[in-house]
Amino acid sequence: SAKHQRPRKNKKNCRRHALYVDFSDVGWNDWIVAPPGYQAFYCHGDCPFPLADHLNSTNHAIVQTLVNSVNASIPKACCVPTELSAISMLYLDEYDKVVLKNYQEMVVEGCGCR
């Protein structure tokens, strides 16, 4: 049977996308001991009129989208992280001391139109 094709426009809507940050790509692998990289994710996509419930929008974003529908000079709401989580990193600091630290807001858990 033919594969079920999702409507094309849904693919463009605001959602979370995979983004693996490899510390060697940014040249930080000499001081970060672990992890070698992590899934940070990013938010991207359209915030179309009318905003659907799953786009996790605010009242302001709904009103801004409504205004955009009648006046294109006002931009649409932005697709941004709405929930973030922490990761732990083990690294050598500027004095060669080994540090284990919890860093907040490093991973996107959810996206929304804001």
Partner: protein, 270 residues
């Protein structure tokens, strides 16, 4: 291809350079330089660093810190180097940072006569940022299993006493110390022992009292004048390589909070 003095990769810097070349004017060139400096400052602030770390080749990663990271990240306990290690829930519940320190080896001997020799460990904690509040600290010592000489001797034990050195060690005479922690251990096990040295470390950091170091005393029970001195690894053994000592030498571990974000709550593996 990275600039080793900066947290911003060379490729990123070049990209900014290209953009300013397109823009043309010298005034914009200065602005992009400022922009890069501001971005670099934000990155350093985010990591709580004063400048980009440039680790020396001699830097040693203690196995305990790697194990803590693995436990923290929710890895299986079988992957730990020290399988007897338990996650220090109590210490980490009020901390979001764990720092490890090796002692200054050239300052380790305590002068003056003493019935039981003590070894002094001086830990330089000046790298702890001022905004970070240390909540607890532990001194970790490794002890190696000793071969049995006789059944009676095998049943014997060692007492390990940990002291804070209260005043600079005098040229002669007894040093003034206060007992921080003590433990009775058996000869026949190889393992790390953890001692609570929080009162001393809090005095040095929060109360800003002078840091004259910690003293460790190892007493065999029943008393045995010669032989079991190398049971607790408090000094370098010459026949063994530097690599062995680097991993088995005493380690001071501090648990602290920088006031940002949550404590090191252990993650469950998905």
């Amino acid at each position: 291809g990275t600039n080793h003095a900066s947290l911003i990769p060379e490729t990123g810097r070049k990209k900014v350079g290209e953009l300013q070349a397109h823009a043309g004017s010298g005034r914009r060139s200065g602005q992009s330089h400022e922009l890069l400096r501001g971005f670099e400052a934000s990155l350093l602030q985010m990591f709580g660093l004063r400048r980009r770390p440039q680790p020396s080749k001699a830097a040693v990663i203690p196995a305990y810190m790697l194990d803590l990271y693995r436990l923290q990240s929710g890895e299986e306990e079988e992957s730990l180097q020290d399988i007897s290690l338990r996650y220090p829930e109590r210490s980490t519940s009020r901390a979001n940072t764990v720092r490890s320190f090796h002692h200054e080896e050239h300052l380790e001997n305590l002068p003056g006569p003493s019935d039981t020799p003590r070894v002094r460990f001086l830990f330089n904690l000046s790298s702890v940022p001022e905004n970070e509040v240390i909540t607890s600290a532990e001194l970790r010592l490794y002890r190696e299993q000793l071969e049995a000489r006789s059944p009676a001797w095998e049943r014997g034990s060692h007492r390990i006493n940990i002291y804070e050195v209260m005043k600079p060690p005098p040229a002669r005479g007894q040093v003034i110390t206060r007992l921080l922690d003590t433990r009775l251990v058996h000869h026949n096990v190889s393992r790390w022992e953890s001692f609570d040295v929080s009162p001393a470390v809090l005095r040095w950091t929060q109360d800003r009292q002078p840091n004259h170091g910690l003293a460790v005393e190892v007493t065999p029970l029943p008393p045995a004048p010669a032989g079991p001195g190398n049971h607790v690894r408090i000094s370098r053994s010459l026949p063994q390589g530097d690599g062995d000592w680097a991993q088995l030498r005493p380690l001071l571990v501090t648990f602290s909070h920088d006031g940002r974000g949550h404590a090191l709550t252990r993650r469950a593996r998905r």
